[in-house]
């Protein structure tokens, strides 16, 4: 079959000639909603109030299941927040990243798990420890098929 290639690549209306249209001319009623248009909801506005101090991390392990931080979940870590008693924190403990619940009792600080299977870890001078940030949010994929915990 033979066809003229030019005809396909160029619709006849758009020739090289210039059409004297300046602006589209409107007819009919203007949209009554036009005045009420708002920008769409952007989840980062809600989840990440401090983008310059926020980092993402992926969780590996099940020691925080009771506080809704499960294996393979994404957590949002905000370094600008002040870690307080009961916060879920990300810390470095002997050179690895850990997420635990921070328990502060007077001058004593303990890392507590959100799972009774794991004993609390006291923070002493013997181990290298540093608070890295506060986990402000956990993102769990509901399509993973783990809606009900097996335990």
């Amino acid at each position: 079959m033979h066809f003229d290639e030019k005809q396909f690549s160029k619709p006849p209306f758009f020739t090289d000639r210039v059409y004297p249209f300046i602006n589209p001319v409107r007819a009919g009623f203007p949209s009554p909603a036009a005045e009420y248009l708002e920008s769409v909801l952007n989840p980062t506005d809600l989840l990440i109030p401090n983008p310059d101090s926020t980092f993402w991390a992926r969780v590996l392990g099940n020691s925080m299941e009771d506080v809704f931080v499960r294996n393979d979940d994404l957590i949002i870590v905000d370094r600008s927040l002040e870690p307080r008693n009961g916060h879920v924190v990300v810390c470095t403990y002997d050179g690895t990243f850990l997420t635990k619940i921070l328990r502060i009792e007077g001058r004593k600080r303990t890392l507590v798990s959100g799972n009774p299977l794991y004993p609390p870890i006291p923070i002493t001078n013997e181990n290298e420890f540093q608070l890295w940030g506060v986990a402000s949010c956990s993102c769990h994929n509901l399509l993973g098929g783990w809606g009900v915990r097996s335990r």
Binding site: D52, T96, L98, E128
Partner: protein, 442 residues
């Protein structure tokens, strides 16, 4: 050389110091690239770390511990390879996606401390504090010093002074001397004198090795002596550049903040190859890739180029091979900004200087005489399909912005083995790629 008494040459100085006038801060990230890598590798926090330049060529960032091993800035990495391994020094290839993102965070955080921020380089920024009451500055410096590392993970040092040169000098002291704990503020004649006396002329901002030698030859060894030196002598031997530095050291402001990004007059993209290239096709691929990257950057700043330079050279470290290096200038008939035409002219330049039978190590493309869009003037005899070419470039930029860098490119830029970076120790892009975000154990 005989120097004049304290304010002998500038009698009016004493009156204007620390009264009106601005105060500048310089915030500098400590071992920036190393700090970026360490943020996501906590086990390296107290270990020696170095970061290598593009292509793993030489050392461009050293942690404090690595400096203590005597590793110098700019040392060729291949000479030190065994030394790094023997001393357990962790080596990283440069990860500009990571550094760029963390730099942006630091600069954004700095803008909370002053309305005037001049981003001076990837790891340092000048802050303007004019109008701030003088007694609030120490508290501000302390807050910057604490807040930036807390929020971004990058440690900084803070210098403040009545001119940019003094702020830079103060920062140098804050960083080098532990007793200042990362902060040095020049806010009185005493603190200025104490600072200048501690800094050697070679460490003054803007004094290069050549000027430093000249000054040391006449017995001027530290910044205090330089600031007091005869200004006519300085102007004669160190030109107006040296004089300006001397004025600034005496608290007379000669340069103000440049808070808007000035458009670049030249854009250059050049790389060493990971393995040497001898065919014209391989070099064409490299030059086309560099020209495409340069054209993209040109469009980003809405500029047009008038002149393209292309250069190639062989490996100077291989004395066993024939040496050659050449560059050429390709004047353009009309101003351009689109990839297709810039690549075409760059390749034209390459063909003029290419010599067969040599082992090439490096090539580069420089766009020169860049003007803004507003200066654009069409040539009467311009027979390019300007609209078409610019639309193609625009479409390429849009596709690449959406689907990843260099997803669409000119065929000549993707020639087999065109060029590739050697990045043997590249870290993950922890902050800019979902598959690279850090793992946290639970």
């Amino acid at each position: 050389m005989k120097t004049n008494s304290s304010f002998g040459v500038w009698p009016h100085v004493a009156a204007i110091i620390y009264s009106e006038g601005g105060v500048f801060g310089l915030v500098d990230c400590n071992s920036f690239y190393c700090s970026c890598e360490r943020l996501f590798r906590p086990e390296l926090r107290t270990r020696p770390v170095v970061v290598l330049s593009n292509n793993d060529g030489c050392v461009i960032s050293r942690s404090k511990e690595a400096k203590e091993f005597g590793i110098q800035m700019g040392e060729p990495a291949f000479l030190r390879k065994d030394f790094f391994a023997a001393n357990n020094i962790t080596v990283f290839s440069s990860n500009y996606a990571l550094y760029g993102d963390l730099s942006r965070r630091v600069m954004n955080e700095l803008s909370h401390f002053s309305p005037d921020v001049e981003v001076y380089s990837i790891d340092e920024a000048f802050l303007g504090f004019s109008g701030f009451p003088k007694d609030t500055l120490p508290a501000i410096a302390k807050r910057i010093y604490k807040k930036i590392p807390k929020n971004t993970g990058i440690p900084v040092s803070v210098g403040m002074g009545p001119t940019k040169t003094l702020a830079k000098l103060a920062n140098h002291l804050a960083k080098k001397k532990d007793e200042y704990r990362g902060i040095y503020i020049i806010d009185s004649e005493e603190s200025r004198e104490a600072a200048l006396k501690q800094v050697s002329v070679a460490d003054i901002w803007g004094i290069g090795p050549a000027y430093a030698r000249k000054l040391e030859a006449v017995g001027i060894t530290n910044a205090w002596e330089f600031a007091k030196a005869n200004k006519h002598w300085i102007r004669k031997h160190l030109t107006v550049v040296g004089a300006r530095i001397a004025y600034e050291l005496n608290s007379i402001e000669c340069s103000s903040l440049v808070t808007v990004d000035p458009a670049k007059k030249t854009i250059s993209v050049a790389r060493s190859f990971s393995s040497m290239k001898d065919t014209r096709e391989a070099l064409e691929g490299a030059v086309a890739t560099f020209a495409s990257a340069a054209a993209y950057n040109l469009r980003k700043q809405k500029g047009y180029t008038n002149l393209i330079r292309v250069f190639v050279h062989t490996n100077q470290h291989r004395s066993d091979l024939e040496q050659y290096g050449c560059n050429t200038i390709v004047p353009l008939p009309v101003q351009m900004q689109d990839t297709i035409k810039i690549v075409r002219y760059a390749l034209h330049g390459l063909r003029k200087i290419y010599k067969r039978g040599l082992q090439y190590k490096k090539a580069g493309v420089i766009l020169d005489q860049i003007r803004l869009e507003s200066d654009q003037q069409n040539d009467l005899f311009d027979n390019f399909n300007r609209d078409r070419d610019e639309k193609i470039s625009e479409a390429m930029d849009k596709i690449n912005a959406r689907y990843g860098k260099s997803k669409v490119k000119l065929a000549v830029a993707s020639k087999q083995n065109a060029w590739s970076l050697r990045q043997e120790n590249l870290s993950p892009r922890y902050t800019t790629r979902w598959q690279d975000i850090p793992i946290v154990l639970s």
